[in-house]
Symmetry: none
Subunit: 217 residues, 4 copies
DNA sequence: AATGAATGAGTCTTCATTCAT
DNA sequence: CATGAATGAAGACTCATTCAT
């Protein structure tokens, strides 16, 4: 069964929910099971068993199985890009505008930490995006669109300062993201392995700076 | 239902099968449906309907639903990395060893073409890898392991020629792959859009060469 | 779920119950919901919500969902026929025995008023009788049987006075009841429409008197 | 769960369905069970067991439990009133217009036979009408409305011939129907008892003719 | 070879009922 | 007394798979 109201995914927030201990246990069990086996291969009786509650309890707070998915992914999605964008803006709010490498390092470290913290949600999110075209479309429209505009502004700023190459900002963002993804992806497939954030950040920044930076003579 | 014998996925090859017109139609329908909705959200009756055959016919050649998946992914998986590795070896078989950029351009163009051609299989493959840990483990053991060894040799070769930075070859391969992935991924989510192979190759190579290349003075 | 102890339905009386404001609210909500959607399509949580109480409160007074039904129908059933029979007896207690038309008019007006007042209970009662054979059997045995005897006596009285045709009293009662039913039934289906008691009584009596009356020459 | 597409009930006809032996068995079992226990108190596993088939088979032809209900009631509803109305028209197609008593006797015998033959469907139909307001509304709009017009014409015809009293035709029809109902209803509650059509018809006609007929002097 | 009716285990979901707070 | 979280037994429905025709 496909997810009907993907819109709702982006509207609700987990924080607003009053969750009892058992209901949190349901979410924890669902997070594990969905990420390990996928949404469709996880039955609600699996969830109940792992959460140590009855199946009825699973449905008390989350009216449907999809409801659990929404409760898990909603807060996640709201932070994937928006927070990054917020970070950019905060950066400019500071009078001390950093050089691009400092800026990049901050972003990369922040996002790698976010990915590592939300590894399981990210895995579930990707699973859904690959088998639910609505999900993908809505995500792109609601989330990606707005972020691109702001990020582009940042890139142009550093391009004018002649710190990075004069490529299409979208292209630059693509490289930053895909390089980070190169470090994050293997950990999605084997979630028990932990990402070394510091080293990864150093490596990503080193590579990206070579790839798009401009050496001042 | 999880896939039981992932091992078998790597053993069988579609080529060995004698397929009638109707059976090919079943595979074509399955490829489309699996990639659009995911394996679990696709029912065998969906497949039969889209393929224009009876459900009985679906089960004539492919004993189970998983059998269809194996028939689709088996040949694909055997080519994801192995063929790339083969390409490397062929390169060395030639006496005319090219410079790294030429070598890189050939690999990138080849793999981007492969991804574009096998977009749907790739999408299904990723879906499975994310919800079937057996699949991931077997893939890594059987396929990735062997490729790494050979690729490492190639990288070291060019490092000794001082054409690329002296980083861990695995790290370099990670960047090459993730940069390509940055171009391929959006097309997985929206498979109707076609990748401009030439331009993408140019851009990938340009970025990678800046990122890991060493300018000869 | 079928009703187990229909017997009990006829034993208990609502009057014996001490009902708090909230419990009356439960009964009122149940009456509305049962009559609109039927007993089975009404959930106890619906009742609790409409009554503005918690589900626990619903079960405080009425041990089971069937208990609510019994509380609603018990008093109703005890009045459907018995009171009519009582009416007959009272009539004879009077020394002024009325002519049949007067007698009939009194009965019809009384029963139509009763139906109109207890429209919702009647609707629920019919629903139950049609899907609960125990209910029907018990009702006939306990309630109808006794009434018939007394009513027969009344009919024979008027037949001997040569006011009505000499048909089987059961047949005559059938016509009286079915003619009244002809006016009551449409209002069961559309309970918001109100029955015009006076006009209906006039019409019923006019028709019945033509049908079974004997003109004195 | 209420019935969603009552409209469909009136559109489809059982005759159009190709039913296998087992599927007919499902309908037969459903007819019995629904009429005995009611729609809601009958589970699909009950139906399967009584029909001697698997639960899957129940759902092969009738996509939902409601689908079975529609298959049972659709053909019934199309004949409740329409056929009666058709009968009237056919009567007028004959040059030998019968007197009202002959006409009435024909109608009553026909409808009592219909009720007796379709006793179980009628019982189910009434159950549904009492717990599904959509059902009632649609039935009245689609079926009753049209019939009234034609029946009214017939009544006026006999009124002009001075054979029956000059009451509102709707009122007359009400008496005819409710008197018949008086004979049919007890058999709904105890469906194993068979209605004596001939005697019932005689009695109904005798009573109705007294009630609305006009004696020619 | 092909069909599609038939199967039955398994899934999501509802709901009457209980009980700790 | 009142609450509502928790339970678990059904119930409607799906679907991979089989097999007689």
């Amino acid at each position: 069964m496909a997810i009907n109201n993907v819109e709702a995914l982006f509207a609700e927030s987990l924080n607003e929910l009053e969750l009892t201990k058992k209901q949190k246990s349901v979410l924890r069990a669902s997070l594990t099971l969905f990420s390990e086996q996928g949404f469709d291969r996880t039955s609600t009786s699996d969830i109940a068993r792992v959460a140590g509650v009855s199946e009825g309890t699973v449905y008390k707070q989350f009216k449907t199985k999809e409801g659990i998915l929404k409760a898990l992914l909603g807060p996640f999605i709201q932070q994937v890009l928006p927070k990054a964008a917020g970070e950019f803006l905060d950066t400019f709010a500071n009078t001390n505008v950093p050089d691009f490498e400092t800026f990049l390092r901050r972003i990369v470290a922040d996002r790698l930490t976010f990915f590592e913290t939300n590894k399981l949600q990210l895995k579930i999110f990707i699973q859904e995006i690959l088998s639910n075209s609505d999900m993908a479309a809505t995500f792109i429209n609601k989330t990606v669109g707005g972020a691109i505009t702001r990020i582009t502004a940042v890139m142009k700023f550093y391009q004018q300062k002649n710190e990075i190459v004069d490529w299409d900002p979208v292209r630059i963002v693509r490289y930053i993201m895909s390089t980070m993804l190169g470090y994050a992806l293997p950990n999605l497939i084997q979630p028990d392995k932990k990402l070394n954030i510091e080293q990864s950040t150093d490596e990503v920044v080193e590579f990206i700076m070579r790839g798009i930076g401009i050496k001042k003579s």
